[in-house]
């Protein structure tokens, strides 16, 4: 019975913080965010020195043999710093490849991705839902519109679900340089996780496993996306609350620190309570990776973490007063992250619908 971080995990987090202090201080994060691209140098370092995309994968396939909790710790720290690297998208892609791909596909794809040499991204949408917007023909040419694909400009390929002509959903890899792939470059709401709408017009895809995907396998792929985004949101929530608390201690009005006013204090406490609830739920999901309950736990994690980041980010702006609504101050970056991720893998209402279905089935 030990549901907390152990010494090694705390040490891992500490090492990550040192590394991110060097490669993801806020000035660098903002400078990279201006470009709308990922921080390739940081991603290279994370892949080569921290085995970032490989942490939870089996050693037999080139993974580091840790658990999803370690990857979640990394996701928390990346969320905390808003570092623009494609950890979560990569984890979803590698999950799909290892669960659905043929041996040859796994062999070809995994190595370069884990080495950080190849970027495979994906929308943060359940595969079956993506398939609602994308059709595949008999030759595997894909047609459909994707509202938002994170890191599209930097990606070598995009993982998508598509409706197959014979029925069912196929999970495909589409090269971004293929004919028929149009990336709509422009601004993103989430400045530190930029992406683009992508239109596919008979763009040739490679079908993982050469057949329709089992729903259970797709659930697992979606679940890892939700779980790591939940970790991202918990990390971001803690940081934006921390920034708000610091501001409330420094800023003075009416001859006292504004944090001494109950109204301001309680904005911080409300965020703190929401995080206190979300963090263990996010960890619970990561802990149950590979178990039957993983998919259901991932929905609960995403729902709870999104609530926490939304409260924390909104309240952080409020605590900062006028400063909270400047470009220069940090709160809007976390607010943008909150609003963007609220839409990931279904919004709160969709999450609650799924939670109801799961609970009613279990009852």
């Amino acid at each position: 019975m030990y549901f907390d971080y152990d010494e090694d995990q705390n040490e891992f987090r500490s090492v990550l913080r040192q590394l991110l202090a060097q490669y993801a201080d806020i000035d660098r994060v903002r400078a990279v965010a201006e470009t709308g691209r990922i921080d390739s140098d940081l991603w290279a370092v994370l892949c080569s020195e921290m085995a970032a995309p490989a942490l939870h994968l089996d050693e037999e396939i080139g993974g580091a043999g840790f658990s999803l909790v370690e990857t979640a710790i990394l996701a928390q720290e990346l969320g905390r710093t808003l570092a623009p690297v494609p950890l979560v998208a990569t984890a979803v892609a590698t999950e799909a490849i290892t669960l659905l791909g043929s041996e040859a596909q796994i062999e070809a794809e995994l190595g370069p991705i884990l080495a950080g040499k190849r970027i495979v991204t994906t929308p943060f949408v359940a595969l079956a839902d993506v398939a609602g917007a994308v059709q595949a023909d008999a030759a595997g040419a894909l047609t459909g519109d994707l509202d938002f694909v994170p890191h599209a400009i930097d990606a070598d390929a995009i993982l998508v679900g598509a409706t197959l002509p014979g029925g069912g959903v196929g999970v495909f890899l589409v090269s971004t340089s293929a004919n028929g792939v149009a990336i709509d470059e422009g601004d993103s709401l989430d400045l530190t996780r930029a992406g683009s709408p992508v239109q596919l017009k008979a763009a040739q895809g490679e079908l993982l496993g050469g057949a329709a995907a089992e729903p259970e396998a797709m659930d697992r792929v979606d679940a890892i996306g939700r779980t790591l985004l939940a970790a991202d949101m918990v990390g971001a929530a803690r940081e934006t609350l921390s920034i708000a608390v610091e501001y409330a201690k420094i800023r003075r009005q009416f001859n006292r620190q504004i944090g001494s006013f109950q109204g301001v204090k309680h904005l911080c406490s409300d965020a703190s309570i929401a995080i206190e609830l979300a963090h263990p739920v996010a960890d619970w999901a990561a802990m149950t990776y590979g178990q039957d309950e993983f998919a259901a736990n991932s929905v609960l994690a995403k729902y709870q973490a999104s609530e926490a980041l939304t409260v924390a980010a909104s309240n952080s702006i409020q605590v900062h007063g006028g400063m909270g609504f400047t470009w220069e101050a940090l709160p809007h970056l976390y607010f943008r992250r909150a609003t963007a991720l609220a839409q990931a893998y279904g919004d709160a209402n969709a999450n609650l619908q799924a939670i109801y279905r799961e609970a009613a089935t279990a009852a």
């Binding site: 019975m1 549901f3 006292r256 204090k265 309570i273 263990p280 802990m287 209402n349 609650l352 609970a359």
Partner: protein, 417 residues
């Protein structure tokens, strides 16, 4: 990270389950299925069964007649009793055994331990708590109950309020002001006072839900022996805080069990009322389910920290804020489900209990309306939500306190005049 309990704890769990099974009457359907008199008789008999099996004062060391159970065993016992809907003792026992008993063990004299601990266990002394006053709720240190020494006795005058189970008690532990000339929290002392005397009068308070679970206690030249002071003169605040520290105890994992059961009954209510296909009701039920899951996950984290010694006192404030707001919301959902039927509450009520209904209570409109009304009190008692948020902001995040206007001698504070 993993959540399976140690083998010894699971073995203990099996023992407890078998103890429970062999001590429940045939066809047991929960306390809620009994009428009020049967309930009282059952609780008394159940208390005896616990006492006979050394499961009553489980947090006390064995040398004082306690069960001497380890923390994880206490947790397992609490879980199994909660699951079965069985009490750990009477309501007075929570005050006598868990709070006062542990305080005497920590801070009492040898004579006080010898005199009071066995009688707490036997039930000869039935305890209630005298803390809050009409003028001292959140501002407990501003209390006014006065104690003046007269020979070998303290003479006590004033009033305590919100004393739960006061009418079934024969002893009260109270904080009184023994010195108004010093800073307010330093002029307090902790007294054990027998209630069976002319100077102590108990009057029930009818609460907004129509039940009398609480009392006012009036002291008019009431007396208690000088040896019945716990700690020295002026130690009252420290003793009271030590006592309140025992309130936290081993409850980390039981909230999810008790509230999980309630949410299950809420689903059944929705089905019975034919509204379980309403998308808005479903949304609320899903929210409830998610919240119970969060409490469960958080509970196991807190249990880990309790066992590892890495916990923080402020976690109690988070717990109170979380469960009390949850209780309010899901009981509101109950009234949504009931619709107009909530306007005429019928059937079995919630017997004046503050939170969840006893196992076996009907899924009646009166039960849920009672709970919903009690939900309004949940964010007030035991430290109001606003106080808990202050504690969270200050203790967990280091935010500065508001400027204080109540320093200096108590008798000089304007409001006290």
């Amino acid at each position: 990270m993993e959540i399976s309990y140690p083998a010894e704890a699971e073995a203990f769990r099996t023992r407890i389950r078998s103890f429970i099974e062999s001590n429940l009457p045939e066809g047991w359907a929960g306390i809620g299925a009994l009428d009020e008199h049967e309930q009282e008789a059952f609780v008394a008999q159940w208390r005896q069964a616990l006492a006979d099996n050394n499961l009553l004062a489980v947090s006390w060391p064995v040398e004082y007649g306690g069960g001497g159970l380890s923390d994880i065993e206490q947790v397992v016992l609490a879980e199994e009793l909660t699951r079965a809907g069985l009490p750990e003792g009477t309501e007075n026992d929570t005050l006598g055994i868990k709070l006062l008993g542990n305080t005497l063990i920590a801070l009492g004299t040898a004579e006080q331990k010898a005199e009071f601990l066995p009688k707490i266990l036997s039930g000869e002394h039935v305890w209630c708590q005298g803390f809050s006053e009409p003028e001292a709720g959140s501002d407990l240190a501003g209390l006014r109950l006065k104690a003046v020494q007269d020979g070998d006795e303290w003479v006590v005058n004033g009033q305590k309020t919100w004393t739960s189970s006061g009418s079934s008690a024969n002893w009260i532990f109270a904080i009184a002001r023994t010195d108004p000339t010093v800073v307010k929290h330093r002029g307090l002392s902790f007294l054990l006072i027998p209630m069976d005397q002319p100077g102590v009068e108990v009057r029930p308070i009818v609460n907004a839900a129509g039940y009398t679970a609480f009392n006012d206690v009036y002291f008019t030249d009431a007396r208690t022996k000088v040896v019945n002071m716990v700690g020295g003169v002026g130690d009252g605040w420290k003793v009271a805080n030590t006592l309140l520290g025992f309130e936290r105890g081993i409850r980390a994992t039981t909230d999810a069990i008790r509230f999980g059961r309630e949410v299950g009954e809420l689903y059944e209510l929705a089905q019975a009322r034919g509204v379980d296909d309403d998308p808005f009701i479903r949304r609320e039920l899903a929210w409830c389910h998610a919240r119970v899951h969060a409490m469960r996950a958080r509970g196991l984290r807190m249990l880990t920290q309790l066992l590892e010694g890495t916990g923080s006192p402020v976690s109690g404030s988070y717990s109170k804020a979380i469960w009390s707001q949850f209780f309010q919301r899901y009981t509101e959902v109950a009234t949504q489900i009931l619709g107009p039927a909530a306007l005429a509450p019928r059937g079995q009520g919630n017997a004046g209990l503050l939170t969840v209904a006893h196992v076996g209570t009907e899924n009646s409109s009166k039960r849920w309306v009672d709970e919903m009304l009690y939900g309004r009190a949940a964010t007030v008692y035991g430290g109001s939500l606003q106080i808990q948020k202050n504690i969270i902001g200050e203790a967990a995040h280091g935010l500065p306190r508001e400027p204080r206007l109540d320093g200096g001698a108590f008798q000089d504070i304007t409001a006290a005049k």
